[in-house]
Amino acid sequence: MEMLTLSNTKINMLNTLAVLKRLWMIRRRYPASYWIKALGPLMTYLPFAFLTSYISRVNHAETSTEVQLYIFTGVVVFSVITNNLSDIGFSVLQEKQMGTLSLNFMVSSSLQPLMNGALLYSMIFQLINIGLFSVLGFFFFQSHITIDFTHLTLSLILLFLFSSQLSFLYSYFLLYAKERGTVHRILTGGLMPMICGMTFSVRLFPKSIYFISQVIPMTHLLDIVRYSVIKSDISETQYWYKIIYLVICILVLRVGNQKLYNNMIRRVKKNGDWEKI
């Protein structure tokens, strides 16, 4: 049979596409969910941005539009991270709940295609989200934006790479952990976006919190995306330092992920916890 002659790489690619197709087919049964997923981040942003722009003059920005633009870029970055985390991480949780995780592992001999497929699926919606945000940004902030497309492209690539590695880390953790999304809430909700400077510049924080924010890679992701769009907060040299820091973080996550995946699979296989949630 044909499958016997295929290389592992080709099988992994085909498996990834199969997962993407499956996710798409399930979503197709509920057309309203396309719109919710595509428009969700935008709908979350709009009331938040309008309200915040009126009350946040304490921010370093001088006008309401600048405040909005500041928040706007913050929401774009965090919506990408949040969506990737939930699409990839929760796909593992869902498979565990449904009992399909073990069959996927048996048939495919690796769960990587399952996560890669979820990442591809998530990326489609991220691109739609970013497209919609771009249209909105162009419409409202046209005169305030000075986009440097080279920097923006590099920043977005790093944003996707970092968020996907972070999501893989989360999904590997979910493979073994008895967890229902607490880590996801810590990473994307509550204080974390604030500490990273989603709505207020981190320079306004007390020194101790400022120090913490500088260790978190998300802070630097926000900075480089903002630098590419509104040239705020940082210098060109700082931009490149941040790029280097983020590349190192991505590489560390990549290596750590590989070790964690093997470790988690071994632990799941040792205890047979394919359905433990």
């Binding site: 499958m3 498996n15 399930i26 048996m106 047979g272």
Partner: protein
């Protein structure tokens, strides 16, 4: 060909994060299943059947020992093994309910590395084999339990594997559907030369379809042979089963001394009721035995006379019976 070589598996029993005890799920299992053989592992719930299947499926790591499929170590080279083995666990939990049967097959077929015409042909063949042609484009959530099980079976056969590992594929199904599934699997062994490792707690099922049966109890293989041979060597003759109501247990001792009674097992049921299974070497003494028991109780009911079966072998070697739900109940000797 599947070979189990001294396979043992121990699970930690935990309370919170603390390990409070250990449970030996498999204890030094050594087995060899030949090509084209229908091999069944029977045992009550908790005997270790699913653990055994999961180790073959590479879902569990054995603590000790090795499993070889066609001379390849399952744990060392899972990708190679995957291509020659099809697994079917409880299908109601391992297929996507929000997809149609066909979409499920397309998905898992793609995971097996099948595409294009190969995938289409494989789906057609699998659907035909499990007789699901009429409902294949329906959503799985609308399927009956039997249909879900059949689609699970179709998934396991998609890549035309030499070996099928089927973990309790008939559990929870009505007898008609179970029988259909058994026939389908048996047909694949007879016509296509497939090797089947089948687990069940239904002893009559194992006796009916298996070339060879292993009785698994508390993680150990107690006996392992063809059903006919097991019956012949362990339980020849007839078996009389009856329910005895309002009795004095002393009569059991006298009954054991009866010349043609070779063995006697009983299990306490509710309300002063006893389930009695008597093995007899001579059929002509049966009426005499019934009369004797009848004289020592208020009432007898559900009297059955049958040839000794795998169930009797099981009771004889394990001192337990298995109820319809797969739970063990004790028989006294």
């Amino acid at each position: 060909m599947i070979v189990f070589q001294n396979v043992s598996k121990v699970f930690d029993i935990k309370q919170g994060k603390k390990t409070v005890s250990q449970m030996k799920a498999l204890d030094n299992i050594s087995l060899s299943i030949q090509k084209g053989e229908f091999f069944t592992v029977v045992g009550p719930n908790g005997a270790g059947k699913t653990t055994l299947s999961k180790i073959v499926a590479n879902l569990l790591l054995a603590d000790e020992g090795h499993v070889y499929i066609n001379h390849t170590d399952v744990q060392k080279n899972p990708n190679k093994v995957k291509r020659s083995v099809g697994f079917c666990m409880r299908a109601d939990r391992s297929i996507y309910w929000k997809l149609t049967g066909r979409q499920n097959l397309e998905y898992f077929g793609a995971l097996y590395g099948l595409y294009g015409k190969d995938l289409k042909d494989a789906i057609e063949k699998a659907v035909k084999d499990v007789d699901l042609k009429d409902r294949i484009d329906d959503y799985v959530e609308r399927y009956s339990s039997g249909m879900k099980q059949r689609i699970g079976l179709a998934v396991s056969m998609l890549h035309d594997p030499d070996i099928l590992v089927l973990d309790e594929p008939t559990t929870g199904l009505d007898p008609g559907i179970s029988s259909e599934i058994r026939k389908t699997i048996r047909r694949m062994v007879d016509n296509e030369g497939k090797t089947v490792l089948f687990t069940t707690h239904m002893l009559h099922e194992a006796q009916q379809i298996s070339d060879r049966v292993a009785i698994l109890n508390q993680g150990r293989i107690v006996v392992n042979d063809t059903p006919a041979q097991l019956i012949e060597t362990i339980k020849p003759g007839m078996v009389l089963e009856m329910k005895v109501i309002d009795f004095n247990k002393d009569f059991l001792h006298t009954l054991k001394q009866y010349p043609s009674v070779t063995d006697l097992y009983y299990s306490d049921l509710a309300h002063n009721e006893l389930l009695l299974r008597i093995s007899c070497s001579h059929e002509e003494n049966i009426h005499e035995i019934i009369a004797f028991v009848s004289n020592h109780c208020r009432r007898l009911k559900d009297i059955k006379k049958e040839k000794a079966s795998l169930e009797d072998v099981f009771i004889s070697v394990v001192n337990e019976g298995i109820d319809d739900d797969g739970n063990a109940y004790t028989f006294k000797h």
